[in-house]
Structures are given as structure tokens and as C-alpha cells.
């Protein structure tokens, strides 16, 4: 127990401390390296914690305020990993931005410290056992990312940040109301001192909780956290935020933040469906999931900005995951968790590649990026393979989860499959056409002056490829345990 405590403390404290340090010394040349080092330390701590949990099973820490079980520890590990690779990527990227004069040193300092703070908030949100603290952490994550999105202070970025702040702020407020309602219901069962916001306690007594209140609460929580997940029609902030923020931020936004928000929803779903004894929450998630798969697919073909394009594709995949969680059951949950993993790996890899590509072209407009593969084969192939992976092409892992989701859907919810099929077809047609144009053809782009950080890209794609061909046993039963927790 104790060493687990210390590890969790390390996981949570490292980014916080690093953030403080960077807030003070972030203007030094070495800031990027400090950033990377902090992330690495977090990653190591997370890995140790994960190992601990796998061996010892779920555990609550810090007098039950924190709680790690296979479900969230795997997300913690994933978050730490992507955070680390992103920090690696952002070293050359941010230097180039600085050299191009798009960012002052002070902005770099802000970026670095906020990046770490953002990691910290997400890790707290994942590991906390207290729904209230979960809410606080989510709100804090919003605030930090608002600063990150508006980093360039251009009109567009301010606009994006403003929309992001208002929409997510309002959404989060709804989530708070839902949390209050849950407390309201739980307090009548557990009493004021019974830790009525602690998920473990709630989970223990969920069958006694008042159904009407919880269903109401779930609506608020769903709308609230759903806004952050980017569920249609609450998604409108997402594309802008992805397009206007610095690329590393886009990577962590769609790679991690959406996952965390979805994680919150799933936690609540477990409680609510337990209390109602019906499939209410599940149906809600399926409905919104389907909507969220279809609508962005149609947006894709209109996109001019490459990061916006992939922002919409993130929305689509979130919809798919939500749908899968909504279906429930061993296979679907397994698939959803797997899809979470591969999506955040692939999508962040794509954003890395896109970042370099747009720096090569000096623009984010798709039509002005052409023939990457001639100028820099690695970036070109990274973008091409990443896009094919995210479009669900075997042998990449995204296909694995889509295979499970689709086959489960046609077994249990056949009516949903035509919708999914349409969405996937349209998305493929739109996105692949654009990516092909960017990668192939007569080059319009210049080679980069700094050698790009391609290690993260290929590490991610390699992992995704591995997950498509072979899921390590421990990973597999880890997923299984998590899927069982969700039920």
C-alpha cells in the first residue's frame, strides 16, 4: 500500500512541481528539457504504479480520496505516456515556432508550465475517488487548456479560446449540478459523514440510491462532461480549439482530454445504471454516440484546415467509443477501451506529423500542403500511415476495435450498423482524399531546418501496429478487468 501511495504521490506531484518550476524558469533555454524530464519522471512513476495495481488489484489511497483500479490506472499510464512523447515532440516544434517569431519567450514559459499543470489536472481527475474533486480537476483542466489554446493571442486563437471557455464552462457547470444531485441522493443513504461523494462508497450502495434523482443527475453529468468529450451537438468548441492551439496542445487535447471526460461519463454510467437497474444511461450514450459518429463524418469533406480536419475525426472516434460503452458487455467495453488507447496514440502521432508538415509548408491549409513524401519521406509516410490507421485500416489497432464494435453492433443492434457504415464510408472518402493530396503529388513544401522529432510518431504508430497484430496478454487481461468493472 505505502509504496503505491508514494508512487501516486509522485505521479501527481511531479507534473505539479515541474509546472511550478517552469513557471519560474520556463524562459530558460533548458525549459523544454525540464519539461521532457518531468514528463519522463511522471511516466516512470505511472508505470510503477500500474505494475503495482496489476499485482495488488484496486486500492484506495489518501484516506480514500484517491482510488486506482485497472480502469483508471490504464488511462493514467496512457496519459503519462502520451504526455511524455508530446513533450519530446514539442521540443523541436516549439523551437521552430519561436524562431519563426510566433511565440515570445514568456509565452514559451506559459506554455511549458501550463502543459505540466494540464497533465497534473488530468492525472488528478483520473485518479481521484471523489466526484467533487473530479469536477474540480476537470474545471482546472479547462482553465489550463484555455490558456494553452489562446497561446498565440491571434484573433482566431482568442476566438477559439473564448468559445472553448464559455461552452465548456457552462457544460462543466451542468456537471456540477449533476454531482450535487448525486450527493443529494447519496447523502440520504450514507449520511453526511459517509463520504457521500466517494465513488467507491457510491458503487457499494448504488442499488439503494434513488433512481429518479440519479437519472436526473446523469443527464446533467452527461451534458456536462459530454461537452468536454465533444459529443454532438455539444461539440462546437472542439474543432476551433484543435485548429488554433499549438500542435502539441491539439495532440494532448484530442489524445487525452477527451478520454478523461469520457472516463468521467463512464464512471457515472456505472453508478446510474446500477441504481436504475435499466439501460437508461447506456441507451443515452448509444444515441449520442451514433449522432457523434455520423455528423462529423459529413463535416470532414468541407475542411480546409488540416488540424480542424483531424479535430473532427477525433469527435467521430469519441462518438464510436461512446457508442461502444453504451452497448456495454464484455466485448464492447473491451473494444471501447482498446479504441481509447489506439485512438489517442494514433491521433497524437498524426498531430505530430501534421505539426511538422504545416511547419514545412508554413500553413495549415490543406490545399497548400502537397508532396510531403518527396521532401521528407518519413513525415509523409507518418501522415499517410497514421491517417490510414485512424481510418480503420488493418493491420493497425484501430481496425481491431472497430472490428469488435461493428461485429458486436450487427449482432445486438443491427439497426445501428447501416448508420455506422455510412459514417465510416463518408469519413474514409473525405479524409483519405485530402491526406492523399497532402502526401503525394508535386511538392510545394520546404524541408525543415531543425530535424523533426519523429521518434514519438513512430513509437506511437509502432504500438498501434502491435496492438493490431498482437495484444500482450497482461494488457489483454488488464483490459478485461477494466471492462468487467464497467460491466
Amino acid at each position: 500500500m505505502t509504496e503505491a501511495t508514494s508512487m501516486l504521490a509522485l505521479v501527481l506531484a511531479t507534473p505539479f512541481v515541474t509546472g511550478i518550476v517552469l513557471a519560474l524558469f520556463g524562459h530558460r533555454r533548458s525549459a523544454a528539457d525540464i519539461n521532457a524530464a518531468g514528463s519522463l519522471l511522471t511516466l516512470i512513476a505511472a508505470a510503477l504504479l500500474t505494475a503495482r495495481v496489476i499485482s495488488a488489484g484496486p486500492m484506495t489511497l489518501f484516506d480514500e480520496q484517491f482510488f486506482v483500479d485497472p480502469l483508471n490506472v490504464f488511462l493514467i499510464a496512457l496519459t503519462a505516456l502520451v504526455g511524455f512523447t508530446t513533450s519530446l515532440f514539442s521540443r523541436p516544434y516549439m523551437r521552430v515556432e519561436h524562431d519563426h517569431g510566433r511565440l515570445s519567450v514568456l509565452r514559451l514559459r506559459l506554455y511549458h508550465s501550463m502543459f505540466q499543470m494540464f497533465m497534473c489536472t488530468m492525472l488528478v481527475a483520473l485518479s481521484t475517488n471523489n466526484l467533487g474533486i473530479l469536477w474540480v480537476a476537470m474545471e482546472a483542466a479547462t482553465l489550463t487548456t484555455v490558456l494553452l489554446v489562446s497561446l498565440y493571442r491571434t484573433p482566431a486563437s482568442l476566438e477559439a479560446a473564448w468559445k472553448y471557455f464559455i461552452l465548456c464552462g457552462v457544460g462543466i457547470a451542468q456537471a456540477l449540478f449533476g454531482t450535487i444531485l448525486i450527493y443529494f441522493a447519496a447523502e440520504r443513504v450514507l449520511g453526511p459523514e459517509g463520504g457521500a461523494l466517494l465513488w467507491t462508497h457510491l458503487d457499494a450502495v448504488k442499488s439503494d440510491l434513488e433512481p429518479t434523482v440519479l437519472s436526473l443527475a446523469f443527464i446533467f453529468l452527461f451534458v456536462g462532461y459530454g461537452t468536454k468529450t465533444g459529443l454532438v451537438p455539444l461539440h462546437n468548441w472542439l474543432a476551433d480549439a484543435h485548429a488554433e492551439g499549438p500542435t502539441p496542445v491539439s495532440a494532448v487535447l484530442s489524445g487525452l482530454l477527451l478520454n478523461v471526460a469520457l472516463y468521467a461519463i463512464v464512471r457515472c454510467k456505472v453508478l446510474v445504471d446500477g441504481a436504475l437497474g435499466t439501460h437508461f444511461a447506456g441507451n443515452l450514450m448509444m444515441a449520442f454516440g451514433l449522432l457523434t459518429v455520423v455528423v462529423p463524418a459529413f463535416y470532414l469533406s468541407r475542411q480546409k484546415d488540416v488540424k480542424r480536419l483531424f479535430g473532427y475525426s477525433s469527435i467521430e472516434h469519441m462518438g464510436l467509443i461512446t457508442f461502444a460503452f453504451g452497448m456495454g458487455g464484455a466485448v464492447a467495453n473491451f473494444a471501447a477501451l482498446l479504441h481509447m488507447t489506439v485512438h489517442s496514440l494514433t491521433k497524437s502521432a498524426i498531430f505530430f506529423a501534421v505539426g511538422h508538415a504545416s511547419q514545412m509548408a508554413g500553413t495549415q491549409i490543406i490545399d497548400d500542403i502537397q508532396g510531403l513524401i518527396k521532401r521528407s519521406p518519413t513525415i509523409g509516410w507518418a501522415l499517410m500511415l497514421g491517417s490510414l490507421a485512424i481510418l480503420g485500416m488493418p493491420p493497425f489497432g484501430v481496425f481491431t476495435s472497430e472490428f469488435m464494435i461493428l461485429t458486436t453492433a450487427i449482432k445486438h443492434y443491427p439497426w445501428a450498423t447501416p448508420i455506422l457504415l455510412t459514417a465510416l464510408g463518408v469519413a474514409f472518402a473525405a479524409m483519405f482524399g485530402k491526406v492523399q493530396g497532402m502526401v503525394f503529388g508535386e511538392p510545394t513544401v520546404r524541408p525543415l531546418e531543425h530535424n523533426p522529432a519523429l521518434l514519438p510518431v513512430f513509437v506511437h504508430l509502432g504500438l498501434v501496429l502491435m496492438l493490431g497484430l498482437w495484444i500482450p496478454p497482461y494488457l489483454a487481461d488488464w483490459y478485461r478487468q477494466a471492462a468487467r468493472l464497467i460491466g
Binding site: V170, L197, L216, A243
Partner: protein
Amino acid sequence: MSTALLHTVPLSGQVINLCAALMLLLGFAMLAQRRVLSLINLFMLQGVVLFASTLIVALTTKQSHLLYSAGLTLVLKVFALPYILHRLIRKLSVKWDVETLLNIPTTMLVGIGLVVIAFNVAQPISQLSGTITRATIGIALACVLLSFLMMITRSKAVPQVIAFLAMENALFFAATSATYGMPMVVELGIALDVMVGMVILGVFFFHIRQQFDSLDIRHMERSKDA
């Protein structure tokens, strides 16, 4: 609520119900309000009511941490935020009348509709509320929806933010008087977030002013797909 029921409610409960009613009233007042300065004042009044209700709940239920949160409310919602807002509009010299995207009477009508919905939704919950204050959940929900509506209808940044804070108030009200307060940690966290959020917004306003030389959010409709 029938009179028979009314008599069973102790005085404190009645006062809290009164506060709830005041909250709702203030909500409507803000919805109807055209001038920014008076908006801020109304917001301050809401803070006062919130403080009062929290205090009463704290005294009746003898929960110490509710006292702290009452104090927190006083400091934050009655003094700090209104002060910050005042300074902001002085700095940005925005004393204009608030233009609404929807004319006031319509807004009011919609607001009444929202109240009806909110009460009906809250009905089953109020029935099984163990606390002495039955109606508060419904009223809090109504206030939340009203401030939501206000955010939609206001076309300038500052009123939008005030509406946002009003929503925060409503939530706080629900937390304290309907459920007798969340755990301290949570309340502290919430308060902190609100505070930080305000600061960030303050910074934001200046940048927005620089970029768009106006706080009219209708300037910020560039990035779209339509």
C-alpha cells in the same frame, strides 16, 4: 406547497425558502436588466442572499464547514468578484447598455417557461427531500436555466460572464441549502476555480479588446464551417 405543509416547516426553513424565492427573483431581474452596472449590483445582491441562506443552514444544522463556506461566499461573491468586475468595466470603460439578441419580454416569457419545466423536473426530488427545504432544488435548477438563457441572449462578453457567475451562484445555492453543503474540499476547489477563472477572464478581456477593439462577441464568429 399547501398552507398545511407550510406550517410544518420551521422558521429557518421558511427563511431559506424565502431566500430561494429571492434568488429566483434576482435571476429574473438580471434577465430583464439592461445596464451592466446594475447587472453587477444584482449579482452582488444574489451573493448576499446566498450568504444569508448558507449562514442559516449552517446555524440550524450546526455544520462548522458551512460557516466557512458562508464566509467564503461573503468574501468571494459579495466583495471580490463585484470589485473585480467593477474595475474591469472601469478599465475597459464599458458602461454601455446591454444589447440582447432577443428582446426582453420574450426572454421573460421563455424564462417563465423554464421555471415551469424546472419545477416539474424537480417535483419528484422535492417529494423525497429529507431536508427541511423542499423547493430549493427546483428553484436552483430554475436559476441555472435562467442564467443559461441569459448567457445565450447577451451579445457582449461581460454580461455573459456575469450570467456565468450567476449560474455558479445557483449551483452553490443548490449545494449548500438543498444538500446542506458538499465536503469542504470540494467547495474550496470550486471557489478556487471560480476565482482563477475570473482572473483568466480578466486577462482575456484585455486581449479581446486589443484584437477586436470591442468586447462584442459578435466579432468572434470567424471560424465556422457553414
